[in-house]
Symmetry: C2
Subunit: 610 residues, 2 copies
């Protein structure tokens, strides 16, 4: 029987409880002489996934989306969500309690400036906002004649009686055969970077960077195998690691104590103050460093220099062991996906499969590898018009049967100890229309243009993004997301600092980076198309080249549905790429898939040009 | 006889005078209790071309390049130039007097921080630096324990006995049939923008923007038909125009007084102070607004808001009359260029032509149109290895014969009252090598990729730039400049805010913008290739489009040398584009060229695919 263990299809359904909770919060604010409070969807690390005990926005409002914020004032309250969640928020949130505002067009700071009365004291938890964010909020309050007031204990926690305890999943040491570099070596490189930055110390506020630095993994949040932890690395000498001791076995503790001072998280604030008191110049990451960190160091007399955490770039460049691991993970995952696709092709035409069935079957074939640790994000399983919702997440309420003559979009990924995967395939059930074939082929041509791109050192993802869009643009269509994001090594499936998008201008693509290549097209109310493989930046050689050249090696191995391709729209080079890719998929996967999948794989990877 | 009237081939040759001039400056600085002085290559408008009276850097150092700066201290002095000028600076400047530093890698602020002693008072002229620049310099001085001191009269002017007078070329009113919009209408639109910016007034520090706003032209600097002038536009009421009255005929004065208070430039500073005293919020352009402007307003109590001058974007979007004018200018210019190319093809194989001969012949055929007002920049005429110097400017010293089996690169442009042109053609003399043909064809493919691009509203030039490079990248080569710059309407040939380059991220391409499309390839010591046409952003329609689509209409009309093309490298679509372009060139120009050019034009525009 198929089963999804790593994602649920239930709505949290806290909507009904919201009125009483908001009332309790207002009473608590009154006790503290506050007139309002900011409730972001954030933990102390500004992470993508937050543990249950930090899900204050969901508890208070019912809203479970992955981005948003609320502001509760004495009489009014507002919830801010982006375009993806404008429908969902009205299902989940009592709009008699919360005005709905657009997170991008009318962000909290703009709303505050327009809506706060003079003299109001608005509370915020400085651990849940970056310093940049807190500054924007403070400026808006000042402009309205109000004051932004940092709180000590979060007032929501005071009125949340059954608040879950903090996660205490065991932290484990990542095997060196997967990590490829000892933590001691990494720390030496990090300290060299700190010296280059002329800083006395680096605060590591991003737990992904803590996990990479110390070669540890954990399970404190969903879908990303990390332990929640902070670290502080001085330019010279031993770093400090702030992690709850209850997560550490004796063995792990011994390992970590060989590298760092291992301290309880409660010590973190005191140590930041001590750094400040020593007049240290401290680098704090501008995107994940909480305002509280900046305040503790600054108020004690230290100097905070905000900027990128240099570990973010170091972590993005994978070493040989990480690359070997991701190749192995992709072979395993590709075989599982092929088994799924073969099953889907047998079952879907019968007309009984639902979107949830597909999620359960896919997770099951991955689990059957014996090595699945987690799914790397909640699977997006969208049939027909649901496929056109870019961040669709199926629930029991939205679940539908996958009908004939529809496109079915499936975006999923796995966490294996040797690597993280992320793949989207769009497959036809029955007969696709000519328009679907035209659109699918244009998306595929864009995908191939990225896959085949050759570019000099220093090229950014922003310089490549349009290659994926050109064939859509020429038909007057486009897709409203980036072409690709960075991917971690048994870590986050969304990893900075590089991306393939018009905003991806910050850093050049470096050999060893793993990114997704995922152009798409979405016709609202009709169908969605996305073709996603992960790619690795590799050096390539061309005779007579005057520069070091890079290219992408495609890592993901699974057939792309030939039935939705219109070959007349493809050039000879594009067909050659696809045929070579399919030949590789067949060669690599044939012995790895289930015997009953083999004839299907054979057919699915036949060359387009016979 | 051919003749170039608008550019000279002489070196200024001030090198020998430099030692005495530096000594005189040092004495003057001592009189003023200054320990050093900043000498930028800038006028009060931070313009591309500066009038002779503002060419202080050239007078002091001998260096005549278009970008650079010097710092004179008591014992040492340094001159800063970018990579283009590293050879030229050593020819022109006495390096016993001036250390040569790299303007980009070791800019003045970095050099000052490393080289200033504590207590030093470094003078600068706040009219010759933007506020951003002055802040950087002040910060560097502070870091070195020194002080940056604004001066009143520029100390160089005090020791420059034969300093030329300021230019007083007549300002003329641009005919409405070319301008297409009255100045009153433009001012109403500008005032609406000022209101949107919530400013009380806009300082117009860029004379291009003054010229556009008031529909006036002039001849105060080389190659760009503008009068040097400032303006100040209040949110409501009459603007003020600061222009030397000696440039104005009675008729022009009457016209301008119908639009604005016309004042002597000496009044500008007082009026800025008055604005400040009135506590006004004043928008000042961050790239062309002098530090002095910011200081005068700020010190009097006003608030300066630095940002883009909104006129820059308004001016970039050409109206119907400007577009009709540019089309007419391109027909006229294309015929002249064709006459030149036909003559060149007859004469060059004889082996006697020099680079200067080509410049003189080209200017002459343009002048024979009877409508040439100026060349839009000094012609780049590079044979063989000179073609590989991107910003090459031929002088009597570097002039060489154009030999057989060479490529010859010619980048030139004209100012006509109806429009500004800019065209580069690379032509073969004798037989090009297989490598030249390969490189030329790759450049051409990139040129065609831009020419054929279709892109949605809001797309920036940065998103298109790589289309021009992809075929070079795949051969391991590239070019080290942007793909395209904006072009004015009988104004600057280099006009912001849009560009096609990886840095061109600021503004989207808007219908009515004119840009260049000029990919290239440069093999140092061997040859240079560039193919440049101007293009106009136009709306295009595609059946089924979900978005408003834009495309480029190519404006420039002249044959692209078929003899250097390798057809086997081109796709059918690319050949179709080229053949259609050549058919259009033939159809538009055949009756406009000299009779003896017609057989040549016929042959030069034959389809590649017969």
């Amino acid at each position: 029987m198929f089963e999804a263990r790593f994602q649920s299809f239930e709505d949290a359904g806290e909507r009904k409880a919201s009125a009483a909770r908001v009332a309790a919060l207002r009473a608590e604010l009154k006790r503290r002489s506050l007139d309002g409070f900011m409730v972001p969807r954030a933990d102390r690390h500004q992470g993508e996934y937050v543990p249950a005990c930090e899900a204050r926005l969901a508890w208070l409002t019912g809203f479970t989306g992955s981005a948003g914020a609320a502001i509760v004032l004495g009489e009014t309250a507002a919830i801010f969500v982006d375009g993806r969640y404008l429908l969902q928020v009205r299902d989940q949130v009592d709009t008699a309690l919360f005005i709905v505002a657009h997170l991008v067009d009318d962000p909290p700071e703009k709303w505050l400036e327009a809506n706060l009365s003079g003299g109001v004291r608005l509370g915020y938890d400085p651990w849940l906002h970056s310093a940049d964010e807190a500054e924007k909020l403070a400026k808006a309050c000042t402009a309205a004649g109000a004051t932004l007031v940092p709180v000590g204990e979060n007032p929501i926690d005071a009125v949340w009686p059954d608040r879950p305890p903090p996660p205490l999943a065991p932290a484990t040491v990542r095997d060196l055969k997967f990590a490829g570099e000892t933590s001691a070596d990494k720390l030496a490189r990090i300290q060299a970077e700190i010296a280059k930055l002329k800083a006395d110390a680096l605060v590591v506020s991003d737990p992904h960077n803590v996990a990479w630095t110390f070669n540890i993994r954990g399970a404190d949040v969903e879908h990303t195998p990390l332990p929640l932890a902070f670290a502080c690395v001085p330019r010279q000498g031993r770093p400090s690691l702030y992690i709850d001791g209850r997560k550490l076995s004796n063995q792990t503790r011994d390992y970590l104590e060989g590298l760092a001072e291992v301290r309880q998280p409660e010590r973190f604030a005191d140590d930041l103050e001590a750094l400040g008191a020593a007049k240290a110049q401290v680098r704090v990451d501008s995107s994940t460093g909480a305002d509280a960190i900046t305040r503790l160091i600054g108020e004690a007399g230290g100097k905070v220099v905000r900027g990128a955490d240099p570990i973010t770039l170091m972590k993005a460049v994978k070493n040989a062991a990480e690359i070997a691991g991701t190749r192995a993970a992709h072979l395993r995952d590709g075989a599982a996906v092929a088994n799924f696709l073969a099953w889907f092709d047998r079952e879907a035409p019968k007309g009984q499969l639902t979107e949830i069935d597909a999620v359960e079957a896919l997770e099951t074939v991955r689990r059957e590898t014996g090595l699945l640790k987690e799914v790397s994000f909640p699977t997006i399983s969208g049939a027909g018009s649901d496929g056109a919702i870019v961040h669709y997440r199926v629930t029991r309420a939205t679940n539908r049967r996958i009908a004939s003559d529809e496109l079915f979009l499936l975006d999923s990924g796995a966490q294996y100890e040797d690597g993280t995967t992320d793949i989207t395939r769009t497959v036809a059930v029955g007969t696709p229309t000519a328009e679907m074939r035209d659109r699918f082929t244009r998306v595929l041509k864009g995908h191939i243009a990225i896959a085949r791109a050759v570019f000099p050192d220093g090229t950014t993802g922003a310089q490549l993004d349009s290659f994926a869009r050109q064939f859509l643009w020429s038909a007057g269509i486009d897709f409203d997301h980036g072409t690709g994001h960075g991917v971690g090594s048994y870590l986050s499936v969304h990893e900075g600092p590089a991306s393939i998008s018009k905003r991806g201008t910050a850093v050049g693509l470096k050999r060893g980076m793993i990114l997704s290549n995922e152009p798409g097209y979405y016709k609202t109310g009709a169908y969605g198309i996305r073709i996603e493989n992960l790619v690795l930046v590799v050096e390539t050689e061309v005779a007579g080249a005057e520069k070091t050249l890079n290219a992408f090696e495609t890592l993901t191995l699974a057939p792309i549905d030939r039935r939705v391709i219109e070959p007349a729209l493809m050039t000879a080079d594009e067909i050659a790429w696809l045929d070579a890719y399919h030949a590789r998929v067949a060669a690599e996967l044939m012995q790895r898939v289930a015997p009953q999948t083999r004839p299907w794989l054979e057919a699915a990877t036949r060359p387009l040009r016979a």
